[in-house]
Structures are given as C-alpha cells and as structure tokens.
Symmetry: C2
Subunit: 517 residues, 2 copies
Amino acid sequence: MNGAQSLIRTLVDAGVEVCFSNPGTSEMHFVAALDSVPEMRGVLGLFEGAVTGAADGYARMAGRPAATLLHLGPGLGNGLANLHNARRAHTPIVNIVGDHATYHKKYDAPLESDIDAIASSLEGWVRRSEHTKDVGADAAAAVAAAQDAPGRIATLILPADASWGEGGETCTPIPPRAPQSVDATTVKKIAEVLRSGESVALLIGGAACREPGLLATSRIAAVTGVKAFAETFPARLERGAGLPSIDRLGYLAEQVAYQLDGVKHVIVAGTKPPVSFFAYPSKPSDLVPEGAQVHVLAEVGQDATGALNDVAALVAPDTAPVLQEASRPALPSGPLTAQNWADVIGALLPERAIIADEANTSGLLIPAATAGAPRHDVLTLTGGAIGYGIPVATGAAVAAPDRPVVNLQSDGSALYTISALWTQARENLNVTTVILNNHAYAILRIELQRVGAAPDGPKANDLLDLSRPDMDFAKIAEGLGVPATRATTADELAEQFARALAEPGPHLIDAAVPSLI
Amino acid sequence: MNGAQSLIRTLVDAGVEVCFSNPGTSEMHFVAALDSVPEMRGVLGLFEGAVTGAADGYARMAGRPAATLLHLGPGLGNGLANLHNARRAHTPIVNIVGDHATYHKKYDAPLESDIDAIASSLEGWVRRSEHTKDVGADAAAAVAAAQDAPGRIATLILPADASWGEGGETCTPIPPRAPQSVDATTVKKIAEVLRSGESVALLIGGAACREPGLLATSRIAAVTGVKAFAETFPARLERGAGLPSIDRLGYLAEQVAYQLDGVKHVIVAGTKPPVSFFAYPSKPSDLVPEGAQVHVLAEVGQDATGALNDVAALVAPDTAPVLQEASRPALPSGPLTAQNWADVIGALLPERAIIADEANTSGLLIPAATAGAPRHDVLTLTGGAIGYGIPVATGAAVAAPDRPVVNLQSDGSALYTISALWTQARENLNVTTVILNNHAYAILRIELQRVGAAPDGPKANDLLDLSRPDMDFAKIAEGLGVPATRATTADELAEQFARALAEPGPHLIDAAVPSLI
C-alpha cells in the first residue's frame, strides 16, 4: 500500500467520502489511488475556488467534512477565498495539498512556493506529512482536527514521495472533540438577565441556527419578550413554515442600530457580539448599543443549543415555541423588479429546498418573501469573499442529492467561480441558479456613498459598472453544459423557475432584475 | 489630499500608470481618488487572478510595473497563482491590498484575515502603510522595490483609514537598483571554459532572452560551437526572422537529457542550472548531466546581457551573429491536427505579434512552426500555475495597443481566469485567443504515465477528462462579450485567424485540435 492509498483509505474510514479535486502532476498518485478505494468519490472542479467552495457547501449540509485535492501553493491560493468563507462558517474541510517530493524542494523548481505560509493564514490545522508510514495517521488527525468543535480547515501537505512511497499504514478514526457544555452558573446568570425587566437582545449563531436551537430561542422569546436574532451570516439557517422565524441581524450598521434600539443587554449564544462588516469614517465598528452590556451564554465552539435549552427549561418550562405559519406571496406579473422576483421565489420554493444565497443587494426582500414557504435551509456568505454561491450550491447538491438546491446569485459575484456550473453539469446535480443580473457591483455603489468617498467621478463609477459589455449568463452557462434561459418578466421567471425545478440536473436562469439603486 | 490621492499621485509620478482593479468596500476611497489623478488608468477585472495576470503581462511588455487593486486577504488569495507566475518571471508588480481600518481590525470582522502571511509567501517586498502621511513614501518605496533588479512583487497593504485620512503627502520617485555588472575575472574564466575544447552548453535567461542577449549568445555560439539554449520558460523571448534562433530547453527531463547529451560544462547567464519541473520516482531532479561542471556567468539579477557581450568581445570579436531567415510553413488544409494548427499560426503570424503561450501539450510544434515568422515576442508560463494565458494576453495588449496579441490557450487551463475575456471586450483590446480544445487535461494524462502511477483506472482517468460535458468556448466567449467562432479544419482556422487579426478588438477561436495522446 502506498501513501496515497493509505491516505484515501483512512479518510473513508473516518467518514470522508467525497474529494473535490483539481489535481496536477504532484497529485497523480493520489488520483491513481482513487480506483483502489471504491468508497471515495472524486468530483472534478476546473478551478480550485470551485473545489473549496463545494467542500464548504457539502459539509454544511452533510455535517461531515469533504476532502479537497489541490496542486501546490498556487492551487491552495486559488482556493483560499472560499476557504476563508468556510473558516468563518466553521465548516470542517480536509485539504490535501500536493507538494514536490521532499528531496526535490531544494531545487526551487518553478512551482515551488511557501505552502505553509499560505495555509497558516487560515488559522486552522496544518501538517506536512513527510514520511509515507505517517500519512495515514496524519490523515486521521486532520479529519479529527477539522471536526473538533466548532469546526475548522485542516490542511495536510503531501509531498509526492510520501504519496508514492510504499509502506503506507491506514489509521483508525480519531473521535473529534464535541462542543463543550455550558455550566449551570452561566445558564442561571443568563436567566437572571432575561428576567431583569430591561430590554434584552439574544443573538444566536452556529449550530443554534438549526431547529433545536430555534425552538429553544423561540420559547425563551415567547415568555421573556427578548428580541431574538440569528447572526447576520449563518452557515446554515433553518427556516420556513413550522419552524420559529428568527430574523437575521442586518448587514448595514444602520439596520442593526434599528434592530437593537433601546437594548440594555446583548446575550450571545454560539456567536460573537455584533460588529460592523466594514469600518466607515465617523461610524462605530462595535454595534452593541452604547451602554448595553454583553453576556456570553455560549462561546463559539461551546454547545449553544444545549445552553439555550437549559435556559428555556429555567425561564420557559411550559412555554411552546411560536411557529411560522405556511404562507406564500401571490405569483406576481409584469416586468421584473427588486420586489417581484423575490415573490416568485417565495411563491414557488419547493419542499426541503436548500438556498445558497449570494443575492447580495438584490436579495434584500428574499427573507420576507420566503418566511412562510415550506421548510428550507439557507446557506449564507459567512466570510464576505464573493464567488461563493455557485460552488457552495454544487457541494450542497452533492451532499443532499434528494433535495432541490436554489442558488440566488448576483451577477457581480458570479464570475469568480463560474466554472462550478460545469461540475454541476458533469455530476448532473439538481441546482437551479437564478442570476440577478443588474449589470453592476451594486453593493459597491452603495458603499461608495456610505464611506463618504464623494465625489464619485466617471472613472470611479466605471469600476463599479458591469454593463460594458453586458454579460450573457445564459450563453456562458450553455457553454459550460448547463441548460439556461432568460427572464425579463415575473411571469417568465415563474414559468422557468418551475420548469427548472421539475427537471433533473442543473439549470440557470438569467434574470434581468433591476438594481435597487 | 487624502491617503489614496497621495498614493495614486506618487504611483503615477514613478511611472505606474495602469491599475488593474477588483475593488471592494475597503478600497472605495482609492476608487474615488482615481478621478483626481487623470494619468492613472483603472482597468476592471471580474476576478483577481485576471487582475494579477494582466499586471504580469503588462509589465513584461511595458518594462515597468502596473499596480493591482485587491480586496483584503481573499482578494490577494484569488490573485496569488498569477502572482506566483509573475514572481518566477521577475515581473515588477505593485499590489495595493486594501485592509480594514486600523482600529477595526481588533473586531475580527468577517473579512479579517492574515494578509501579511499570504503576502509573505510571494517572497518579495511587503509593507503595511498605517499612517496617511506615510502612504506616499511607502508607495514610492514599493515601486522601487518592485523594480530593483531582477524585479519582484511589492505588496502595499493599505488600511481603509490610512486611505481616507487627510494629510497625504506625495513622494518623489526612488530610483530602483540596476542589475549588477559581472566582473572581468568571471568573464575571462567563462571565456576559458568556452575555449576548453570540451562540450559546453550555454543557458541564458531573464533579460538576456531579448535581442541584445540573443545577438551576443549567437556570436559566442558561432565561434565556439557552444550549444546555446534559452531557459525553459522565459518571461519574454524575442524570436523570428532577423533574430538569432535560440532553442528553449525542453520541459521534459528526457528532452533536456537529449539536448545536453555529452555536455561537460554548463554556463548559466541570468538563470539557474536546469532542474526537473516535477520529481519523478527514480529519475533525477538535477538536469545538469552527471559529471558536468556548472559555471555562473551571471546570477539572476546581474546584468547577463552585458556579461554575454563582454564574453563575445573576448571570444568572438569579429564574428557576426547567425540570424534566422524568413520562412513560413505553407498554409495547410484538412481536419485540424496537432501539427497543422501550428502551421496555420506560423503561416499567418502577423508582424510584431506578442504570443501569450499557454498551449501546453498542444503547443509542442509551435516553436518550429513560428521560428521563421516575422519578429515577435513569446511570453511563457514561468511559474507553472495554469490560468495565466488569458490575463497575461490582456495585460500585454494594454501595454502594447499597437501590436497584435495572440493567446494560444489550452482548454484545461482556460477556465481558471476565463473572465479576463470580459476585460478584453471592455477595453477593446487586440487579442486573438485560440483555444486548443482537446477536451482533456492532456498534460496530466502524460504525467500519470510518467510518474509511474499505473494502473490508471476509470476514476483516475475521469479526473483528467474534460469531455463530460464538452465545453463550448465560443458560447462562453460570446457570453463575456467577445466575438467567437469555431474551427474544425485548418482551412477554417486560417480563415478565422486572419479575419480576427484584421478586425480591431478581441476575438476567440474554439479550435478542435485533437490531443497528442
């Protein structure tokens, strides 16, 4: 057994059964070894950002890590932006980064680079597996490290000779560290804050954004009147009819100020106190209202859901959660607007959908339009590195082949990782991509105003404009093997969206949704 | 004057007049400041790999750096692969990487990441400009550092508050370090090696691959019989009728063994002794023939061209260089083959063309087919990080608007940075892209055999196959605003190539060139 075979066998034994791959020469023995371990599925991406984003989407839905296969430093570099998003989502991922053979590194061949420095920027787990006999053990350690609560990026650097050498040994799985429980004293203290009679906000994040956490949060809110919010960008938020509807904290500081107006206490569970996404001249970075006190129920990595249940048992033992009733917008008609496209999605969102949401400015009205839709999951842009939507939708569809995936995708963010559409076609994944094509970096038009960087002259505006030339996403998609249509009215969008959902395999709709500004 | 204005003014004063940009919120003051410095041209890319590759192509042709504008760590990460290639090309580039405001960093907002670690992997010059009044001086230092011989990546990290703060001061340009001259003793020693009567190879690289270096090399070879080669992947190689024709060292170790067979001395000038691109089991990494001695005429960063001229003055004072005669292949006919597509390019390559060569396996016969074509420049994949061709062609066309740019582009490498086609359309650049569409990572099929990673099973082969689904590059190009055609015969390719060159603006030809293996 060579090193690559011991690696893949160990990964599979530890529950890692998909490897999103963009290999090169130094990974050829890994590629060859795939055929010796039938349980491992190799999924090809044509760009590493598609690969790492897919691994993120996969683990958010599967609840266990995928592996990635990347080619040296440049491959890891290309994958870095979506690994950044995955880091912020606390998604477990096991990167296998091929490197030159150990004895070859001293020659400083063209592809030699400082992989360790690049990997270190992810602030996760990094190890270089230099000896064939250790590769299995290092792989088991990587899978455990990736899954240690709350989840992180584990990067195993695999020199070619460690991969091709004989004498590989598989390693039994290492159990990852479970989330730490919150002690009873903290739970009691939080219960006291909730009973203080003062205005309190409760901000939940991480795994608490799934059903059990939402139910506990709703019970607490029902009895105490606390203002409950999900963090601005949850990795996975469960929503829809039959679940408590917990609003997300806004992206703009102005929204958050409105949401937290008058609050004297901010309780956080599984997330951090709110901060501004960016700094703005003369505006605060810390979004906790002045004079309000922060209380930590559960740190990131602690069992926030258990803690919320413990608090609910104290303050709301006999209170039922408030569940969202089923309700959908009426199907609209007429030319597409920033409002009516969201209503189309709300009206037609299928049962058990997974929404990969990178609609950005165009998606402002989506939460309201889909609140009463059938139960669904929303995956969001946790790290702010755009180009996440198409790959994450791809990975989510690999993880949940029986569920429809809907990717709401702004045009400005689509080109970073557009090639993931090809992987959707290759794997025949049930992903419907709706491109919100407003021909602009609309978010930046807003931000140019917000940072006070006036006057905005012609050159500045030109750098935020995507209309010269207009992109034809239907053609791009078809070129990548994904059937595509174009919608300019709500009626067309509805008809095309329904049809795309009804047919197996990927589809793309280029929707001419005008910009909000 | 704010920091951003002082930065752009200082860049322009130092000769940096193009900024390839993919900005975000933290760069909005830089974007706004573009309108206050008319000499700076902002060129928008839709993905950072397109931006950094364009900066590489620009500087290779312009001989001076462009700036890039990148959005925090993920933006730099996305740009890293083509910065790696630029580093290997010794291309001067000035990265401006926006960061959060200094006081905002402690909040660990979603886009916070370790930019310094990522930048450090480029082994160039990195500085964080924390105070508005220093931004101008830091920019001047960055431009000088980028241009210090032999050229490198300079990365200036610009916190948003340093950018928007008032009190910016422009700084006068700092002269960069010129290449160091080679001393007379070394020149004499090399002349003795050349006169030894033993078999000698002379390997030139860097700036020595341009006309003056080639002329000196040819004179030396003409009188001494030395086997002269250009390095395998030169940043910019001048070729064609009227110039000495100096073969490049091969990519495969087997080719190099053939080229250097029997050689007892290897002289290097402006490059390093040859090493294998990758390691292969039981094959040497060091490609200097066993027992041969290495002699350094000029280290990388020294004045190799001057040194070659000094050697020529000693050993070949009255010898003229041997110049390539004009000669072109006949225009071929019939279905496209690995041979005849190269003949089409050789037959029709226009005067003063710039070839951005990422043809990989499909391009094996291009050097022979174009050797006697009109004088042209060839830009090559210096660092081995694929996805370089389309962006480098884009940047070269910005630098040399009066010259035709021809991008020979393999399909497997095209998807990494495909969005650079949009920038070509936006800027109406004279780039003709020929996609060599063989529906495979053909190089990896070769490498899978070469590394001895047999047996190659169905899963392994599937990861090297791009035919499921086939990509339609003509549709993709049209979707990005570039007119495109499809060629399946040499006649069609010739007709479409000639037409694309005759019309202004970008064009793409999807050429169905079968794989060599």
